[in-house]
């Protein structure tokens, strides 16, 4: 039997999300996170459509999975040991940071989300194969972290430096030039022309 790993994973993902959705939607044996009222076919409650949608998704996901058993061969890209280790490490580090920040009282704003994401993604980027993914997304996380306390300019600088590291063709001079150019451009477009409400320079010291 030739297995299509892509289809197996895709089907599995769909089924998992469907089960998760059904669980949150509630109504089955009293289980459920949010317990939406089902209602009747005539007067549908908030839980009716989700129930329909997730059952359909469950069915389709299961079919994708079954078809994948014979649909191949279509293997996933090969992961090295380093890829697996960094992925596991990144998840663990992310959860740990999340917990630590929660204990430190950072649990009612997005610093917690951003901090955990940033560190986890940087750990992920240790492996060369994950580097484009890890650094591109980390640059986004650092932008979110820096924007409100440190202002637009520094957020752009951080984003540029981190994302540029994802491409081997960059050198310090090209990164610096690009960063300055983008800062000026964004200041002109977003602050001068469009006037979006965002601090330009650090606000936490002032």
């Amino acid at each position: 039997m030739k297995i299509s790993a892509k289809d197996l994973w895709a089907g599995g993902l769909l089924v998992f999300l469907a089960v998760l959705g059904l669980y949150i939607n509630g109504g089955f044996l009293g289980l459920g996170l949010e317990q939406h009222t089902l209602g009747t076919a005539r007067r549908m409650g908030p839980g009716y459509m989700p129930m329909l949608v997730f059952w359909i998704q469950f069915g389709l996901g299961a079919i994708v999975f079954l078809v994948g058993l014979t649909g191949g061969p279509d293997p996933l890209e090969r992961w090295t040991k380093l890829d697996l280790t960094t992925l596991a490490a990144s998840v663990i580090v992310g959860v740990v940071i999340w917990r630590v920040m929660e204990a430190a009282g950072y649990n009612n704003n997005y610093i917690q989300v951003g901090g955990a994401c940033l560190v986890a993604l940087l750990v992920l980027a240790i492996s060369p194969a994950w580097r484009p993914l890890g650094l591109t997304l980390a640059s986004f996380a650092v932008f979110g972290l820096a924007l409100e306390p440190l202002g637009l300019i520094l957020a752009i600088v951080f984003l540029c430096i981190l994302s540029a590291l994802a491409d081997r063709e960059h050198n310090p001079i090209s990164i610096a030039g690009m960063t300055v150019f983008l800062c000026v451009l964004c200041w002109f477009v977003f602050i001068k022309e469009l006037d979006i409400r965002v601090p330009l320079w650090p606000t936490i010291f002032g």
Partner: protein, 500 residues
């Protein structure tokens, strides 16, 4: 007829105001630029610019966004011909004959016929939109909730069937999109669904974040992973003039491409890329010079390039008359309209005549501008092609990040985009098409509303969907489409048409 002329006169009045002209030009310029640049498409760009359009009047905003979409069809051919690299998905087939023509020293001729063909097709398609719009609107006004539900279901089925790759997975992606659309406040009871107590989610997941995360950021990561996909331009453009023989040979292809493109553009899930493929297949079968295909036949440029631009215009028809987006770009237009407080649908033509007629007239003006932008100024775009990707992607990221933030002035949207970037990456690795997901996400909430209303009116009896003739016809069409795709012959044909 007189009414149509009066309406068009009104439309030109709107489109020719200084602001609207400027933004049509801006849209056309941006569209050409992103069309020329490989690796950034209209979906990402339009979602990027959505926040910027808040401050503008609705008509101006839509005129600019539309310009980006059809402008990209013009720009995409430049890269395809000069670099053998599609600037847009819709110009993939142009690489086949266009690059061969460039190797034969006829790059200029290929660029000219691409632009002229696009302009002709765009003009015809614009007239088609103007003529069919009001008539279709009348039909749409007699639709009940059950009919709407069935129509959207048909749209979802077709969009899944026409997407690339496995139909089964595409349908599953549509359903997943509908599921994502459930997040937020239930319209009828006000109950929070799937929000996990996060106040930012009570308005639902961010449409821009989804589009930008999956299409913008996901795309960048994939481009960085395979650096060999980038290439360098070689050769000169040469004379832009067509020879008499080339001109005569192109005429039938342009005409055929216009027809194919106009028809395929209206189909839900269709749009520019499908039209270009369809036209290329047709030219290879019908052209008198089909034996020259593979060695730089001008028909292989003229047909698809006309078709993709015709489709870019006619794909506005379902949106403007029924309020149903035919493809991912149109889904973004729905988003733009709703942000402006306009509910897309059959009442839009009458309630927003400025928007409807102004947009149609600006499309024609925009096509005229694009002809000028693309031909005499071709040197400028060739320069743009020499900007290395290493400078491009951080710029895109910066604009993305500021763009999502400025939606609600909230960092939440930045992280939401990051999350969908990861999801988009997983999707592309598992070969799950993201475009059907986006359409499902947009149509899902509307479908739920119509379903609940229809069931309430029918006292809970689902027979209403087959009792009403319109709804029954639409459902039957959907069933036929699905059944047809189960036939092995047709499926093989579709795979061949969509394979690069």
């Amino acid at each position: 007829m007189e009414l149509l002329l009066a309406n068009l006169a009104h439309g030109f009045g709107v489109a020719l105001t200084l602001d609207n002209l400027l933004f049509a030009l801006l849209g056309a310029l941006i569209g050409t630029a992103i069309g020329v640049l490989p690796g950034i498409g209209p979906v990402a760009t339009i979602s990027l610019l959505l926040p910027i359009t808040f401050g503008q009047p609705a008509t101006t905003a839509i005129i600019m966004l539309a310009g980006i979409y059809y402008g990209a069809q013009y720009g995409g051919s430049t890269t395809a011909i000069l670099l053998n690299l599609p600037g847009e998905v819709s110009s993939v087939v142009t690489t086949l004959e266009g690059y061969k023509m460039a190797r034969n020293g006829r790059a200029g001729a290929a660029l000219t016929i691409a632009a002229v063909g696009s302009f002709f097709a765009g003009s015809v398609a614009t007239v088609l939109v103007a003529a069919s719009g009001p008539a279709l609107t009348q039909v749409a006004l007699s639709f009940g909730p059950a009919d709407y539900f069935s129509l959207m279901l048909l749209g979802l089925i077709i969009s899944a069937v026409l997407a690339q790759g496995s139909i089964l997975k595409s349908i599953a992606m549509v359903v997943l999109g509908v599921a994502l659309g459930l997040v937020g406040t239930d319209v009828q009871t006000g109950q929070q669904r799937f929000t996990f107590g996060v106040p930012e989610l009570s308005d639902g997941l961010g449409f821009v974040s989804i589009a930008m995360g999956i299409f913008g950021i996901g795309e960048i990561i994939l481009n960085l992973e395979r650096p060999e996909a980038r290439s360098v331009m070689s050769g000169k453009v040469g004379s832009l003039m067509l020879t008499g023989a080339e001109f005569r040979r192109s005429i039938p292809s342009v005409l055929r491409g216009t027809v194919v493109g106009s028809v395929l553009g209206i189909l839900p899930g269709g749009g520019a890329s499908l039209a270009a493929f369809g036209s290329y297949m047709m030219e290879r079968k019908l052209s008198k010079y089909r034996h020259e295909f593979g060695n730089g036949a001008i028909e292989g440029v003229a047909g698809p390039e006309s078709a993709n631009n015709a489709a870019a215009q006619t794909s506005f028809i379902p949106l403007l008359t029924l309020g149903i987006p035919a493809n991912a770009v149109m889904a973004l237009m729905v988003g733009a309209l709703i942000i402006q407080g306009i509910q897309p649908g059959p009442r839009m033509v009458e309630a927003q005549p400025d928007l409807f007629w102004g947009l149609i007239c600006s499309m024609w003006i925009g096509n005229l501008m694009l002809l000028v932008i693309n031909l005499p100024l071709i040197g400028m775009w060739v320069k743009l092609l020499q900007v290395p990707y290493k400078y491009l992607y951080p710029s895109i990221l910066v604009f993305c990040a500021i763009g999502v933030y400025s939606l609600n002035n909230s960092v939440f949207d930045v992280y939401q985009t990051l999350f969908f970037g990861i999801l988009g990456y997983i999707f592309s690795k598992l070969r799950m098409e993201a475009a059907p997901l986006l359409i499902g996400f947009v149509l899902g909430p509307m479908m739920e509303e119509h379903l609940r209303r229809a069931m309430l009116l029918s006292r809970g009896d689902p027979i209403v969907f087959v009792e009403r003739p319109i709804s029954a016809t639409l459902l039957a069409l959907g069933a036929i489409v699905l059944a047809a795709m189960l036939l092995p012959g047709l499926r093989a044909g579709k795979d061949k048409a969509l394979a690069e």
